[in-house]
């Protein structure tokens, strides 16, 4: 198969039954199948040069590849893309692009080097330092709307309910979830969302990204690269993510569950109805 079309995002394609042994306390074995999420390697190529192999659930590969290559600096605009060739059987996505990406390749995964002669950088990868910019956004949102959209996310993940084996990510505005993606890797799910908005030129300054994964520096940097002003998770944040959020002007919200959440950074975007 060689097609630019992603397969249907169906729970039955992402999950598969596995024959397992389930035991109770007495040692009694219950002979019944369990549903597990599929995992497969997918190798990304840029202008015929191998870039990386990702382990993923195997769907929305065009979005995954484009989102990954965009956040890593290999792509700059949709016009850069001359073609996307997906081979599901071989597990490859080949992107041909206007720029050859060789300079970016030299920087890829290179750690920033500081001389110790000044206040150093918060970034640890050179490409992150190059591509991350402070987020510009006037968005304000009520706590209730944030929790409503999180609730929406929880209802959207059929695969999670079936397998408990994926991370979910949603792009939402204050009224609704606009896009939902899940994958075995939380970064993959975010890359799919980024890939989708990149290919469809969806502006992000009035949106929030909701994820089930931890709020780490890597996630924060991805958000900064695409100008997402609010990050929400039902999980916790790391210290570096909090530092970066403050520096990059991102509202960072964790532990969003059971009707409340923790704001680590950027409280000014919360519309709590106080007189101005």
């Amino acid at each position: 198969m060689n097609s630019g079309e992603a397969p249907e995002n169906s729970a039955f394609e992402e999950a598969a039954p596995a024959r397992v042994g389930i035991y109770d306390r007495s040692g009694k074995k219950l002979d019944q199948p369990r549903w597990v999420v599929r995992e497969r390697p997918v190798t990304l190529y840029m202008n015929d040069r191998e870039v990386v192999t990702l382990l993923c659930a195997g769907h929305h590969l065009d979005e995954l590849a484009v989102g990954f290559l965009y956040t890593e600096g290999f792509l700059r605009s949709p016009e850069d893309i001359l073609g996307i060739a997906i081979d599901h059987e071989a597990g490859t996505v080949k992107i041909s692009a206007r720029e050859d990406g060789s300079i970016t390749e030299r920087l890829w995964q290179k750690r920033t080097i500081s001389s110790g002669c000044a206040k150093g950088s918060l970034f640890y990868f050179s490409l992150d330092a190059l591509l991350s910019k402070p987020v510009k956004s006037d968005i304000r949102i009520t706590p209730g709307r944030i929790l409503d959209r999180l609730e929406d996310l929880n209802h959207l993940s059929e695969i999670y309910r079936r397998t408990h084996g994926v991370h979910n990510t949603a792009l939402a505005d204050s009224d609704k979830v606009i896009l939902f993606r899940d994958d075995i890797g939380r970064h993959n799910a975010v890359d799919m969302v980024v890939g989708h908005v990149f290919l469809n030129r969806i502006p992000l300054e009035d949106k929030m990204l909701i994820t089930t994964g931890r709020l780490t520096s890597e996630l924060l940097i991805k958000a900064a690269k695409v100008n997402i002003p609010i990050l929400v998770s039902r999980n916790t944040a790391t210290s570096l993510a909090i530092e970066l959020a403050a520096s990059l002007g991102i509202t960072l919200i964790g532990f969003a569950r059971a009707g409340k959440f923790t704001v680590y950074s950027g409280e000014e975007r919360l519309d709590v109805g106080l007189p101005g």
Partner: protein, 380 residues
Amino acid sequence: MSVYLDNAATSFPKPNAVIEAAGRVLKDVGASPGRGAHRHAREAMAIVSDCRQKTAAILGVKDPDRVVFTKNATESINLVLKGWLRPGDRVLYSAMEHNSVIRPLTRLASQGVIPEMIPCGPGGVLDLETLKQMLSAEARLVVLVHVSNVNGALMPVEEVAEACASARVPLLLDAAQSAGIQPIQAEDLGLGMLACSGHKALLGPAGVGILYVRPDLDVPPLMEGGTGSKSEELEQPEFCPDRYESGTPNLPGLAGLREGIGYILETGINRIRNHEIGLAHYLENELWQIPGVQVFEPERRGSGAVSFVVEGMNPADTGSILDQAFDIAVRTGLHCAPLANRTLGTFPEGTVRVSPGFSTNIENVEYFLNGLRWIVTRRA
């Protein structure tokens, strides 16, 4: 292409004659100058003497014996500050000084010395009128960087020297960035002391510093020890240069420095200055054309050092990317001059400093500019 633009830290590449001279000393000479009468020691001594003569010539000092070799400019400056200043002494220093001045002064302040800062303009040049007012009260010393290592600002050294002479206050000139680029006449200027390094624009190897002390100024040495002279006496010799040169000198460094200065004298210091400052002006003009780049231009330029920042980017990140993606060597950060960065408004992250040397050509500069343009375009 690999481009080295960090000549303000140390010049690279060195002229072949410098490399060969340092190597030849290690291979063929190998003796300690002034510590023996054998042929090797005599040849070593001849190299040091010749280096001293050339150094005196390029710094405008008539008597070569007034030229002292130390290990670097920092040691030369420490020698003066710690030898000359006593508790209660007032010392004036510019707002563009390097840590080689600021750190010893900070320590001396804790021992009762009174340092007072002379303000500088936004481009880094000293405010002469304020200095004159400050000199109306008694002072023991004025310390001035000749050319800023951060942005190449040239200080009005003639006017400052004149003001110091009128007030009968010795002037210590830090010529680390200017020696080899700017013509210096230490005696004609009436400098009290001059400190510089041998490995920057003087093109020598690292490990040699230079100090000149005016004969009427009695500055005690920082160290005492063997000099190869007056060995029967327990006290340090009083004459120069032995008073300040204890221990075995850096012969390969001095042999290289001799050739480095020889190269400059042969080439012509004005030609070197025009080349480096010409490249700096070109760099400044081109940098201003790149959106989001801010250049910290001096009112008067004395070297090729150009400082800039890319808006929203830590200078360390800019330098890191230039290195990793393009093999371009620049210096980033505060350049060991936090005070100068406060003056320029670039503290605490500092700047990216590009410093072409005499061997830098326009293709090297264009290659750097294209690398920077790539960075800026990528951020857009």
